[in-house]
Structures are given as C-alpha cells and as structure tokens.
C-alpha cells in the first residue's frame, strides 16, 4: 500500500489548486497537489481571454472601482450570487493581479498615446495617459461597464498557469501528475484525504491529509458538445457528491458559450467579439443588433448564445454536415491584429478547420462552456457537510457567479478565490490536528479495489462504458441545453435514470491493466450520471428563468419564489438526488433589479423582506 501523509492535499493542480497550495506552503505547511495531467496542461491554461480586476489603468477603464466590478458581477449573476462572496472577490482581485505581476506574469501593459479599437464592427479612437504607461492594462470583455480584463496577448490562462506552477516549483511543493482521486476518505464528519489511482501504473494509493481541497474544474464533459478539456469530466465533483454529505450548489446553473467552432467545439475567445468581431447569419448579415440594440455582439455570453439559437431556429442558420451554425467574422480586424492579439484564434482556425480568418468566415455555434454549479462551500471555501474539505475555482460553488458568470470573472476567480480560501485553509490547518483511523483508510481502499476487481472481471454486467457515457451526454445535450422546458427535462431525467442503471452494470472490454483508460472511465461513470441527474432534476424543479438557466415555459425571473440556491444531495443508496434550497445571499448590497439585458420580466420578491436584508450603506 502506498500511503502518503501531508498537511494539505489539493486535488487538481490548476490555477485555484496551486494558488491554495502556494498559500499553505508559504505558511510552512506540507502540501501535495495531485493532477490527472501535468499541472500546466490543466484546463486553466486554455482560458484565453483574461482576468477581471478593477485596476482602472487603461483609458476605457478609467475611474473603475471594485464597487463597479461588484455591481457588474451581481447583475451578471442575475442576483443569484452570494453578495458577500462577490464583494470579497471584487475587492481582492486588483491586489491579486499585482501579486501575479510580482510573481512573473507578463501582463500586457499600458502604452501611452492614441490608438484605435473596434466595437460592434465600428472603429473608435482612444488615448492612453502618459502617467499610466507601463501599468497593467485591460481590455473589453463580454458584458462589463469598464474595460477591466487584464490579459497577456491571447494566452492569459496559460501565462498565469506557468507563473503559478513556477511558484510551486520555487516553494518545493510536490505537484504529482497522472494521479486521479477516485474516492474521499471520511468518517461522516471529517475528510481525511483520498484514495487515488496512479495513471502510470494503475495502482491505488492513499493520501492522508488534515485538509483536502478539491480544485478539479468544471464538468462540461457531461455534455456532448463542450469547449472543456477532456479532463473536465466531473470525476472529483461526483466523488464529493458520492459521500452523500456534500451537496452540489446550483447544478442547473451551466453556461454555454456562443462561439465554439464547428465541428470540434473548440472555443474561440470572446475577445474576438470584444475586439470588434461580428456574428453573421446564412445571408452573411449581422443580426445581434436586432435582438440586442444596445450591446449587440458585446452582450453577455448567455444572451448571445441564446440569441444565436433563436436566430438559427428562425431559419437563418448555415446548413452543414454537422448541423446548422452561424459565422463569426473577424476579417476586418486586419492581419496585424489577428497575428498578434488573436494569434491563438488564428491558429485554431488554421489548425483545426483549415480556415484563414483574415479572408474567411469562422463556423461557430453555442456549446457548453462553464459550470457555475459545483461543490457548495461557504465563504471560507469549506465544503458543506464535511470538515476539512475545501473547494475552489470552477469546481466549487463559492458562489460569486450565481446563475451566470461574466467573461474574465472565472479565470480571476481561480487565483482570487485560491488566495482567499488558501488563507482560510491555513487558519484551519493551524487549529486542527489530523487523527485518522487506519481501519477506515483500509476499508475505503478495499472498497475501491473491489470496484476495480468487479469491473475487470465484469462481475456486475457487460455494459460498455463508452456507450453509456455517450447516452448520458446525448440525453443532457438534448434535454438540458441553453433552452429548457418541462417536457424535455422530464424526458431527460427519465433517460438518465435508465442510464444510471446501466452505469452500475459496466464490465471492461479490455484487461484494465496499467495506464488503462477504460478502467478510469468506468470508475467514474456512475458518479457522472448522478451528477447529470442533479443537473436535469434541479433544472426541472426551478420553474423560472435566471441567468443561464432559461426555461421556455417559465420565461420570467421569479424573485418571489426562486431567489435561492439549489443544494443537490445524493443520499447513499438513493436513485435520485434530494434537492434542498437556501437563501441566495446573506444580505443584499444591491437589492434585486433588472440586469438590463436578456429580456424576460421579473416577478418581484416581497419588498419588505428584501428591504430587511438590504445593507444600509454609507453609515
């Protein structure tokens, strides 16, 4: 038995995981980070756009302030977020960006003088101030009042990931790759670590830790069409759900991205639209301004995704062998802009489509993109239900995003939340001693080994894991996508229940030895289907439209009934999730209002209740 002991075990070595690790290591605690892939290959590195922080250095971000950022975030969340958390985030973000600059991130900087930019296809002029030259600059990104998104060309996630991983190397943090956690070790009260499958040898190992942090990213791979990396499969979230004690917060809150390329669903950044790219239909004509006269292509992403599908449904989609799509046009931005600022977009088009975006249109359509849903934690990042378990980043529902996350807020969340929660983890470690029962550890290890043996010997059935997975993905894509309705969701839940049965009867077709992929997929499929059922069931239950959760049969945002957060539990031996609800936010700094885009009316909550919960500012 391979057993490792550490103060902090981080599952997932992306940005938020490594940020927590850095905080703990700097406080003198031992840390082990586990990752399915080498840390720098984490999905964090795929985020091209940038990180939102109210630094206010660039001309069009002048007079920006965390208050404005906070307001954008709350409005963006459609008042579904925890306002205390959103406030912590907005206030800390600028400091964290400067910290990253100190650690080595090559942020783009303010260049004094006059230059041009595009907005909605039109050319504008701006003048950067001399006294700001050399400070961290920002660009425009979906749906914000100010230019606030800090970036490094078009590889922000990659560049920050490099710096963060360098910091881990500097601090001597053990970052172990090809290690996949498959079960948490806990006694019903306290989390003590995890059972881990080594993806080099296939062997099981145990990692015992005083504190465990799940920072495994989103679970887009529950859907057939997603921009997520293939490691974003919800394995770790399902592992937490599997305890029966830890809930998934707002599982129905899933965001779709308007511009995944067809057919590989690779994301082309919103920066394209931010920089002036336009969306065209089958007649190669712009259409976004018809639906959103104010913001047109710059409206928030769920609005754009929703309008695109609406336009396709109205018969204006471009037919293709992979179904209908629309066009993204960045031809007018010019060779220099495309070769430098949008180089990765250029590479994607050339490498994966054989399209030259300087002269040709890019085929795009909406795909799954981000899970606001995640392991529900309190503001300190501590998961509900188990002591010593933390979560941060996309894996968590910390909940600054509510029902819709703003572009650039998620990448910023990874490091900002990582820093904040890292400090709470340090507090926890200072005040807690690890005590664990070796019998418990052995029992969990034996239970996992038995699962593996069952799968390898096909003791429970002969179902093919890839076929089951495909059916799950298709059910969710069919019934629980951008637009949802009761009929589709009921069918989706029904299909998923059947799929869940089959997921319990998987048998391996291969021998399962060594770095076997089929075994890895088989070990997590049941958890994935449960997670999918949480998503569909919660979406069916929420009879309103809020943020990215769009119900065709309930188009209004219903604050009277639904100004709350779903908590989906999966009690042991249940066949369906148990849904509970909690208040969306402990208090309102900004009482519920209209976010100003997206359409649909609002059924207001009881005014007295809201007033009672609203902060009396400026004492």
């Amino acid at each position: 038995m391979y057993t490792h002991n550490t103060d902090l075990l981080v599952i997932g070595a992306g940005l938020s995981g490594e940020r927590i690790a850095v905080e703990a290591a700097q406080a003198g605690f031992s840390v082990i980070c586990l990752s399915i892939v080498p840390a720098r290959r984490s999905h964090s590195s795929a985020a091209q756009g940038g990180m939102q922080a109210a630094l206010g250095n660039c001309a069009l971000g002048e007079n920006d302030h965390p208050d404005v950022h906070f307001a954008d975030t709350v409005k963006g969340s459609d008042w579904g977020c925890d306002q205390e958390v959103a406030r912590m985030f907005a206030n800390t973000a600028p400091i964290e960006m400067r910290r990253l600059a100190h650690w080595g991130v090559p942020w783009n900087r303010v260049v004094a003088g006059t230059s041009f930019y595009f907005k909605g296809g039109e050319k504008f002029e701006k003048t950067e101030a001399k006294e700001k030259a050399g400070l961290i600059t920002a660009r425009s990104f979906g749906g914000t009042a100010k230019w606030r998104t800090c970036y490094t060309s078009d590889g922000t996630g990659h560049a920050v990931m490099c710096t963060m991983d360098n910091k881990c190397a500097e601090l001597g943090i053990a970052v172990l790759d090809r290690k996949e956690a498959i079960a948490l070790i806990h006694d019903g009260q306290k989390c003590m670590g995890a059972v881990v499958r080594c993806l080099r040898t296939g062997r099981l190992e145990t990692y015992l830790a005083t504190a465990t942090a799940i920072c495994s990213g989103g679970f887009g791979r529950l859907y057939a069409a997603t921009t997520n990396a293939i490691i974003c499969d919800g394995g770790a979230a399902a592992m937490a759900l599997d305890t029966g004690l830890v809930p998934i917060g707002n599982p129905e809150a899933i965001q779709f991205h308007p511009t995944g390329i067809v057919p590989t669903e690779i994301l082309v950044t919103e920066g394209c639209r931010g920089d002036g790219g336009t969306l065209l239909d089958v007649h190669e004509e712009r259409f976004m301004h018809i639906y959103e006269p104010q913001k047109a292509e710059l409206a928030s992403r769920d609005v754009v995704a929703r309008r695109m599908l609406e336009h396709i449904r109205a018969g204006h989609g471009v037919p293709s062998a992979y179904g209908e799509h629309l066009w993204l046009d960045i031809r007018h931005l010019g060779d220099e802009h495309i070769s430098t600022k949008l180089r990765e977009v250029d590479e994607i088009c050339q490498n994966f489509l054989g399209v030259d975006p300087r002269t040709q249109l890019i085929p795009v359509r909406p795909t799954q993109h981000y899970t606001m849903a995640g392991i529900r934690t309190n503001k300190t990042g501590a998961a509900y239900g188990l002591k010593g378990l933390f979560s941060a980043g996309e894996a968590a529902c910390w909940d600054m995003h509510g029902f819709n996350r703003l572009g650039g807020n998620s990448l910023a969340e990874t490091v900002v939340a990582g820093g904040i929660i890292g400090r709470y983890v340090v507090d926890y470690l200072k005040n807690t001693d690890l005590c664990f029962s070796s019998a418990l550890v052995k029992a969990e290890l034996a239970r996992q080994q038995e699962r593996i043996d069952d799968l390898m010997a096909s003791r429970l059935g002969k179902e093919n894991v890839y076929a089951v997975r495909k059916d799950m993905q298709e059910a969710l894509t069919e019934g629980c996508f951008v637009f949802r309705n009761a009929q589709g969701l009921q069918r989706c839940v029904h299909i998923l229940e059947e799929v869940l049965d089959r997921a319990g009867k998987i048998g391996l077709a291969s021998n399962g030895l060594g770095a076997n992929h089929e075994l890895g997929a088989a070990l997590k499929i049941q958890g994935q289907v449960r997670l999918a059922l949480c998503v569909a069931t919660a979406a069916l239950a929420r009879t309103e439209s809020r943020g990215s959760h769009n119900r065709e049969d309930y188009p209004d945002r219903n604050d009277a009934q639904w100004l709350n957060r779903t908590l989906a539990y999966w009690p042991q031996d249940n066949r369906a999730p148990k849904l509970e609800y909690e208040e969306a936010t402990p208090y309102f700094e900004i009482p519920p209002g209209d976010r100003g885009y997206g359409g649909g009316s609002i059924i207001p909550a009881d005014a007295e209740k809201i007033a009672a919960k609203t902060m009396q500012n400026q004492e």
Partner: protein, 250 residues
C-alpha cells in the same frame, strides 16, 4: 474523400512486461475535418479500449498529445488526417519514459527541468499589496510572452539529436525557459548566474545546431534565435570572466 485510413500504432504496456513491444494495425473510415484526436478516440471507443494515448485540451493549447506521426514529433490534436497519407504510423515520443503505447511521461521530465533551470523569478523584493505594480514596457511583456508560449509537449526534446545521444542534455525547451527569464527585468539573476546553469555541454554549448527543435515546434517558438542568442550571451560571459581574471592577475 472517403478514404480508408490504416493506422500502424506502437503497442506496449509496461504493466505486462512479458508482452513484447509491437506495431498494431487498425483501419478507420476517414470523415470530414478528422483530426488524430477524433481518429484515436474512435479507435479506442470502437475497436480497442486498451489503447493508451494522451489528450487533454484537444485544442493545441496544453501540449499533452505529442507523438511521432509518420516520423515527425507533433501534436496529434492539431494534425488533420486530410494532410496525411492513407498509411499513418504513430510512435510515442522518444527520450521520455514510456507510460504505455503512445503515452510518455513528460510531466516528470519537465518538473525536473524546473528545478534544473530554477524556473521562477528570482527577486529579493517582497510583494507589497498597497503598492502600485512595478512598471514594465509593453513590448518587453510581449517578448516574454512570446517565449512563455511553450506548452512543454516535448516535441523539441524528442527531435533533438543531442538529447537522443545524451539524456542529460537540457534541450531547447529548457534553454528557452532560461531565455525567458534572462529577458525578464523582474528576475535579478545575472548572466553569470545563468552561465552556471547552462554554460556547459549539458546546456547551451551541448547544442549542435541541428535545428530539429525549431523545425518541429508546434507553437513555432523562435528556438533557433533564442539558442543563438544564449550561445553568444554565454560565450561572451565566459570571455569577460577570462579577461577580468587575466587583468586581475597582471
């Protein structure tokens, strides 16, 4: 269109040492816009679930899927089958330790490299959260990013004749990493400090200028120029020391 592709794939599972490494043939009907990502996943899901290979982002960003495709190390995810002949030979990257079939252990190799190159900003300044960030010229930031684009896929190492002959050679990715920090005004290391890391035959002077790194790099990093820059810089650093020493002696 509608070709039938033949894949010859290297097979070896270290967990079953009694089985010898071998090449295995698969056939697959080509579809429009097919990449090796799509093809290999179909082979695994439809024909042989024991097939081992690595993909992560499948978008050419993460560097997981480096493998030797018809003789050239490259990223499988951004290799379109339409650009390949009907017979496609896939081998794992050489130099790195084999995990199984087409999967190699780049993770450990690169983590070791971070320690060898001391791959982080060396500064005595402490971060002050109340202070404005240190200013930097945007052009410098962009130059740093240009080198930071490395995705650590290992293609340059696998293609390097020197690395094939001596496994202690740092290789282009590591030397590029040094170039990235040498460029960064925040890093307080001197040329002499860098010389101590790469001023030898394990480092820049071991490079024989075969330029396979430059020619296979999927991110088109300016490796040739950086290697030349480092050789001059380190060469001059050594000469400076020589003259300093001799002037001291006289």
């Amino acid at each position: 269109m509608a070709r039938t592709l033949t894949f010859e794939i290297f097979r070896y599972n270290p967990a079953i040492p009694e089985q010898k490494p071998q090449m295995q043939c698969f056939t697959l009907a080509e579809t429009a816009n097919m990449t090796l990502f799509i093809a290999l996943n179909r082979l695994r899901e439809e024909q042989d679930p024991s097939l081992v290979f690595d993909f992560c982002c499948r978008a050419g960003i993460c560097g997981s899927c480096g493998m030797v495709v018809n003789g050239r190390p490259r990223l499988a995810c951004q290799t379109k089958t339409a650009d390949l002949p009907e017979r496609i030979i896939l081998l794992p990257l050489p130099v790195f330790k084999l995990v199984g079939d087409l999967s190699v252990d780049t993770g450990v190799w690169f983590r070791d490299m971070y320690q060898k190159t001391r791959s982080w900003i060396h500064t005595k300044k402490a971060f002050d959260s109340d202070q404005e960030e240190e200013r930097m010229d945007n052009a410098v930031a962009e130059q740093i990013y240009e080198l930071e684009r490395c995705v650590e896929c290992g293609c340059c190492i696998a293609a390097c004749g020197t690395a094939r002959m001596r496994d202690d050679f740092l290789g282009a990715a590591s030397l590029n990493r040094i170039a990235r920090f040498a460029l960064d005004p925040r890093d307080e290391r001197t040329d002499q400090d860098y010389f101590e890391i790469i001023g030898n035959d394990y480092g820049i002077f071991g490079c024989m200028g075969l330029l396979a790194c430059e020619d296979v790099c999927p991110k088109h990093l300016p490796l040739q120029n950086q290697l030349g820059f480092l050789r001059r810089k380190m060469g001059i650093t050594a000469l400076k020391q020589l003259f300093r020493k001799s002037s001291c002696a006289s």
